[in-house]
Symmetry: C2
Subunit: 366 residues, 2 copies
């Protein structure tokens, strides 16, 4: 099996650096081996630093980001609980679907796709429904919007609600400061700004969130995702719950080390500079950013397509980018399908060279 090298400029996965690939191909250790548990402890420590939190219950869930979303909501919500969800893209929609299946009563606060949620509208819904949980997305991977967090989180907390934040496309690319913001449960993915393979979802639960889980009237619907059970393995006891995905943890450990070596301020600046260069360069070819500069998400830029692309068939051009130039970009998702491309400059790929390769390929194709 050998795969053609790709430059992965879609909504994730991003390219994985050689150090991380090498870590992943190390011989295995057992999931209860003291040498492995040391690596797990380092991963949990590094994740806390990256999430900007002291929450003890911070861990890499053994499943992708969508499972992380479900773990956050399924632990905090019981049947009949009220939840307010901000919806301005696919992942806010998904939160509603997940919460609905849990049996929660969902109040949607919508905003135009490509714009940020209104903190006032969220505060109104919170005041009206006094929900158990308020959930929204920091970095909407379907639209490229970076949602300001603090005001909504404050409105939620002052109404006694717990706050759940989707950080899938921000962690490792933008500063995430759960404790400063007052977030009770957050989830991310490894395949975006951390430049690790997909498959794990870093999650973090505050003490208030854990207390809420302890106080539930009914058990968490999912055995696999119940954080009180997960705490047995990911806490001080280190007792068996399920078999942790050893090789993926090796990879994440190395990926987190790389983030630390660079430091988040430099890393965030690099993501911003790459996104600005992308918008400038592709702007000269008629690609227009969908999102206002004030709330753009540097790791993922949505671009309205010029006629040269739509006339030729946007899916066809994307396929030629992939086949002839080895470059993957993402199509529009949901109601933006066919209207935009999603260009990820995440983690290792947030560099001028990525923009230059994409620009050159597009100039050759259009």
């Amino acid at each position: 099996m050998s795969t053609t090298p790709r430059l992965l400029l879609g909504p994730g996965p991003s390219n994985v650096p050689p150090r991380v690939l090498a870590a992943m191909s190390q011989p295995l250790l057992g999931h209860l081996d003291p040498a492995f548990l040391e690596i797990m402890s380092a991963v949990q420590r590094d994740l806390r630093a990256l999430f900007g939190t002291t929450h003890e219950l911070t861990l890499p869930l053994s499943a992708p980001g969508s499972a992380g979303m479900e773990a956050c909501l399924a632990n905090l919500l019981e049947r009949g609980d009220d939840v307010v969800v901000g919806v301005h893209g696919v992942f806010g929609e998904r939160m509603c679907a997940v919460a609905g299946r849990i049996g929660a009563r969902v109040t949607r606060v919508e905003a135009e796709w490509g714009t940020a949620l209104s903190a006032d509208a969220m505060a109104d819904a919170i005041a009206r429904t006094r929900p158990r949980v308020v959930a929204f997305v920091h970095a909407e991977t379907s639209t490229g919007v970076r949602q300001p967090v603090r005001e909504i989180a404050e409105a939620a907390r002052s109404a006694g609600a717990l706050v759940v934040l989707d950080c899938v496309t921000s962690l490792g690319g933008l500063a995430v400061t759960l404790d400063t913001w007052g977030i009770d449960a957050a989830y991310s993915g490894t395949q975006k700004c951390l430049s690790c393979p997909p498959g794990l979802s870093p999650i973090s639960f505050s003490e208030a969130a854990r207390a809420r889980v302890e106080a539930r009237a009914t058990p968490v619907q999912s055995w696999f995702m119940d954080v009180t059970l997960l705490a047995g393995y990911y806490g001080a006891e280190r007792v068996y719950h399920h078999t942790a995905p050893i090789s993926a943890i090796f990879a994440l450990a190395q990926g987190l080390r790389i983030v630390q070596e660079e430091g988040m301020p430099a890393r965030e600046a690099r993501h911003r500079a790459a996104a600005e260069l992308l918008i400038e360069r592709l702007g000269t070819m008629g690609f227009e950013p969908l999102v206002d500069a004030a709330v753009r998400l540097p790791p993922l830029t949505t671009l309205r397509l010029p006629a040269a692309v739509t006339d030729a068939g946007e899916a066809r051009i994307r396929r030629r980018l992939l086949d002839e130039h080895g470059i993957e970009v993402g199509g529009g998702l949901g109601k933006l399908s066919g209207q935009v491309w999603r260009v990820g400059l995440m983690g290792e790929n947030a560099r001028p060279e990525s923009v230059e390769r994409l620009e050159a390929a597009l100039r050759a194709l259009l």
Copy 2:
């Protein structure tokens, strides 16, 4: 990061062969890249062959075996449904816990740990409760029992129940023939007899199981595990559901190829021969098999400990095996804790050399 090489003779993970490690360190492809989807199709085809099924909905769930268990039960059971579960070890217990959280009414049919379930007792419970689902474990990783499948499955099907089978420690080490047995939903893990890293759960759903999911009165409680949504990505449409764990799929593709090259008859014979050699060699040192020969599970042998081990402290001897000889074996789980060791000779490790290294190390230590 560099880890000391281990010989992994516990209940999984087993050692991963170099070809699989190399596959996992290949540069990534996107989860919608046609080149990746080809690999996914090959994995699904190979899993069908290995499960002995033509079930279209056969796929590697992006989470470990415990999540595979939950996916099978959560799709087929609704609140208030009856389920009969065979319980003769930790994983039957876990099925009860999972089904209970789903809101099903659980009827337990117990057998002594280390023995097989009685088909008559299962049939009685099925006749009495007319359950929606009958669930039991083919290969109890906590006890080392290989459960005969056919009679129980027939009793279930003739009562109109769907049959769920845990194949975590059998798939790739013992013949699994879902269609001949009449199994509607099965799950496994990659880190046992397939000698791939942990993190994925191969699952398979029959047409009857899918029809049951379609006919549910309530949505599946889990968005992440809902097979009707999973079918969008793992079926002909190949539409986005979640980001598949690319590197782990590369590894599984290679692991399945290795299984095919050897062929299941040879592979099963190799597992049986290794287990027999283990029992013979360690028998001379006072280790006694817990399980009757007729229902022993070759990939995982439980051994009662001689006084030389218990007197010295079994956990201490296991730790010295690991630290001084680089060999991991498993301790007893649940009510067998402290009483037995669980020695896995799975996949790549089911070879005389594994037994010889373990025997030599134990002779040095005792």
